[in-house]
Subunit: 323 residues, 5 copies
């Protein structure tokens, strides 16, 4: 029998496509095989399959900023199916969107690409100083639509943060029981923080920590600046000489702040900017140990061909096949 | 925008790896995208990915026939993880087993291969003339363990058939709501049928029809013989001159009986037999338009190397790369 | 950070009391940390703590055989608290009993010894050829009473086996969700098996397999004889030359039949017999790779002092400190 | 029979490791054996096992103060597993943390140390005058993760206190039904109290009373100063000449205020300070009849070796083996 | 503080009306204070208040035997309120009846006497060899009607026993959670036992054990005869020389069989017989350590005055004021 076991172990080891995927799954020891399976699906799809790196296409801007601001630059994007196809053609790990967008293409693209159902969203017809998104989907809807994960935005620093934390807590418990993964967008924003503070290194690192503590498997934050927002934090960064001079150093600090590197942290592309600037940012994320990018507007607002080439170059950087 | 749409359609079409998978998914118009996604997963994995053909490894014999009868010939198989690895290494579309076997490997092999949780099983320590399996799993367990489908056996011709039909009805409704696929093993057996009748062409075709009517996405039956069991059926087969002389003809009739070919029908390998006989059978299944095979004992009771070669040859036949 | 991680890993490894306990927990990859914690509790208590071996005291005989037959030989045992104290004093891993017995001592002995709430029981005021126990407890009662595990008896070979399999399926799903471990007593008994067949090697191995497939963490079977009950099995045992001549060989085969040794299998002491015969049996269980014994009547029907000495000797055999 | 009973009682008494643990459990007569079992687990683990004294390691600072402020001083602490190991190596009674931290190590350290899942938490990216933490976990999550207790913070004196009291009421009812213990952090804070008032003797004693009235099994408060905040209280303290001159006297008064000493009251270490000052404080807590300390930053912000030595000295003071 | 505690303890001790009631409540350590309160109510009412002895008036004969057989002898008994008043006037501990009888008087006699709602009942318009009563009430109905306990009949030895055991299991869990006491009538009856066996000493002792194991607080059985029904039991009674010659000895054995005397066991009066015979029986119950009697027909079929005198004499025997 000892022999039989050895055979299984050797053979199993050989058959694994990626030790890195296994290593990452090993960080989620409290999760059931269903959730591990969906995390693996996210890591085993697209051009970065098996690398443990991510490029995700998110398209919630139609809800968040309105259709013209989102899609007029490249009108193909008014059709939700455009984004499924773009994510697929570009070789993204996954496509993330709110209920309506996912519903429109989920049957047609069933099985083609892992989906993330964004369960809350803010529109900009109303705006206050302390944002709180609306719940726009459910875990059962994610199952109905064949999604691998739920997505959720929290706004730490908002007066309404507790509302969001309580919502994601409930959704996380349910999603994990039903075998889904949980992706949390953690964007500090609200009346108790400055505009610069939203991307301050101390604040972004803190935002990553909060998302992890709330049970996120994958955390999305913004690339941090060298600004330090909170006085109490500033003292520590100076005393401990935490290196935050370069973006790569700051990324490394954010990844460390996400449970010593044992949670997947990915970074948003932020507002539209020059392509070369984005590539520099991606290199810094890679060098700092970041797990990838989630790139919306910079992808779907370009013509399809350009977008695919652009995303391909981002993936090449993460894959180490471009510098 | 019309232009935009055209772009989407062209691009989407191009990006599809397999028109055949799309075609098959098109038969299941009442199913939600979650179920379609899991059906697609079954069709997009392994060596037959994208062909619409199936070779599935089922290992419920430990429960059905006992451990020694199942695994003594190749003792590596006592360890449930052996079968995950075998299915994976051989390039099967999926691996099917009862709760305990799936539980033992589901975390270790998370995301490596689509899983089918067998939700009912019979043991052979008790036997009666009218079999009825025990319920041994649930749809929620399938989600917890990351399975793509549930599996269920019905025994038409058993006095207890209605019990089974009622159970699969409930499970099917729940599985479809939660985005899983449903595989039904339909094996006529019981006091109102002869031993020969169990594989009679009229009975097997009828068994396929019943499973489809109960809502199965994938139906598994035994390869039928030319025997016709029921007098009322015999009259029709003769009158209408339904061709059932060759196995390929009988397979074609069974596939036709499964909603005019709009349901996936696969065939069991049955008891261990000579390899060349199995290949002949597989060729007939292929030629008759069958969708594939589910091969248990003939796979895992051989030494691993032999089993992989054997399954590879079966897949070659289905893929059209062997004759 | 790499350094920090290394520190954690080294330190964590050092602090583990027992690599064997960790190894065994590693077999249960689909279970949540709650269930793993309770499995660890069972393995980390008493004289065999940390060895991965078990001696459990079960006292359901009051229900199963009536009070006088159970307790008249040692009347102290009429009081349920006697058995908590005996299990504790003797250094057993756990104490198992039905609801009423557990309720009587659970508060007084809270935290002193891991408890297993037996959730079904048969009485012998009614007897039929095909036994089916009554449900006498629940998972929530186990939580209320501070138990680490639920216990459940199945009678494979009974015409009513499916009833029992269905019940344990539901209870297992609930227990695992709520962080409890599951112990299954698997005793073939019923109209389709002979009296000798109840302990036949093929039948006992099969019974272990069934319990594992139903999701048991710990399986209890009877020590098997060399008799082979089923004709179909006999052929295989002979053809594959499975060694079943000595009890140790038979134990090894049963353990192998429990998922290649990746499930905990323990053995009942059976009917009262001479002490030296029991010790011989225990040595064979140990030598065959069995995980331990569950000894009821042979313990609590002796005077307390004798019982403690007797159980101590059994533990010494398992611990390797006696031969 | 009288004899049999006497035997049980004598033997049971002998086998108890600690009369003090029994005595304390006796204070919780309304709790079910499940909750008593978990309270016993907290008291029977680590270097202070059996003494009825506690040293608990809490690590919620990542959530409460942000990652750099919490872990930069000793970067090993960014990895949640560090703290499980530290608590274990130092011989603490238990480890308390929010969901994400517990999830990361619960499977790896299953059964090694009692866990307390902190069910609400505040972050400091938002701050208002009347704090109210977010709900970040649930009783069912505590069961899933194998925890012995839930933890919850209330802020008496906050305008939002009733929100918190209502939440803990519901959670307490559920936790007690499901056999868990309840630890309440009671920190007066908010717009109706001065900064000095937060640790005033009358306020701390009142905070302990409130937590007990809400059903806490274990109450955590801050070491009180001699300041008296409320005028109405001041009159009584003076009239009744309640001795509050020394810390030991104040501790005694707080313990008395926690139901005449029939609830477990432990004290926080507060902000980082000189080690000798902490030892003095611990001696006063011990001398005043306090049940122990919950020491976070003063433990995990030191290098591991130092931390273990430091905690060991604290435990020696409580154990009476140091003065 | 030590002084304060002592004061509380002394005062509490003084205020207890009956050490015996406290002692008995101490046997139910797993029960919540609500259930203890209701148990105390049963023990603290009527002429036997504080003695730990019981005389209960049950009137379910209208349902069980029909109205004329039950009430024609003393037509006042057709009115349900008669029995409330009789129980009250006679000084019984409690009055037990089915839903309709309780509903008719519960408001009028609210607070006058503890009530037991009988939750299942058999009628004699249908009779089979294996009886199973109908569920005729619920725990919530017991609360609505102000009852202190639920009552339930099981028929061990009936082929349908498992149905009853499963029902009482569920009801017991609910009743205990909601703070009610549970009284189980345990009457062996059915196809696997002889008529004489129904009151055989081994069978009655076993019936008491089963009720206790199912979680009953109070068990009602019939006074046993010296007959021994089961061969396996007979051997033990003879070998261990269990004294069963006199009724007092048999009562003692039954009480011992009810968890070593740690459960309340009361005895039915059985069929109408001569008054002196009843008194003899009551003396034997008392001398054997039985806790009391439940006397229906022998009470309410006599004229009211006679009944009150009769019951008074029974109580005097239990109280020790008559011999």
């Amino acid at each position: 029998m000892a022999q039989a076991r050895a055979t299984v172990e050797t053979a199993a080891a050989e058959s694994r496509r990626s030790g890195r995927v296994r290593e990452i799954l090993g960080w989620y020891g409290s999760d059931n095989p269903g959730t591990l399976t969906n995390l693996a699906r996210l890591m085993n799809h697209g051009r970065l399959a098996g690398t443990g790196r991510f490029v995700i296409l998110p398209v919630d801007q139609g809800f968040e900023h309105g259709p013209a601001r989102s899609f007029a630059a490249n009108p193909a994007g008014y059709d939700p199916r455009y984004h499924f196809e773009l994510a697929l053609a570009a070789g993204c790990n996954a496509y993330a969107a709110p209920l309506g967008f996912i519903e429109t293409g989920a049957a047609e693209f069933a099985g083609d690409i892992p989906l993330i159902l964004k369960l809350n969203n803010s529109d900009s017809l109303y705006s206050g100083s302390d944002p709180c998104p609306a719940i726009t989907g459910s875990v059962d809807e994610a199952l109905r639509l064949g999604c691998s994960a739920i997505g959720f935005t929290i706004y730490p620093a908002s007066a309404q943060r507790n509302q969001m934390y309580g919502e994601i807590r409930e959704l996380t418990e349910e999603a994990k029981r039903k075998g889904l993964a949980v992706v949390v967008w953690s964007y500090p924003r609200g009346s108790s923080i400055s505009k610069d503070g939203e991307t301050a290194i101390d604040v972004v690192a803190y935002a990553a920590q909060i998302a992890c503590q709330l049970g996120a498997h994958i955390v999305k934050v913004k690339p941090p600046t060298a600004h330090i927002e909170q006085a109490a934090a500033k003292k520590v960064y100076e005393k401990e000489r935490i290196p935050v001079g370069t973006l790569a150093e700051r990324i490394r600090h954010v990844v460390q702040s996400a449970f010593g590197g044992r949670r997947i942290v990915i970074f948003s592309g932020g507002e539209a900017k020059e392509t070369s600037a984005i590539f520099d940012e991606v290199r810094a994320i890679r060098d700092g140990g970041g797990f990838g990018s989630i790139i919306g507007r910079n992808s779907f607002q370009r013509p399809r061909g350009e977008a695919i080439e652009f995303l391909g170059q981002v993936m090449d950087i993460y894959a180490g096949t471009a510098k």
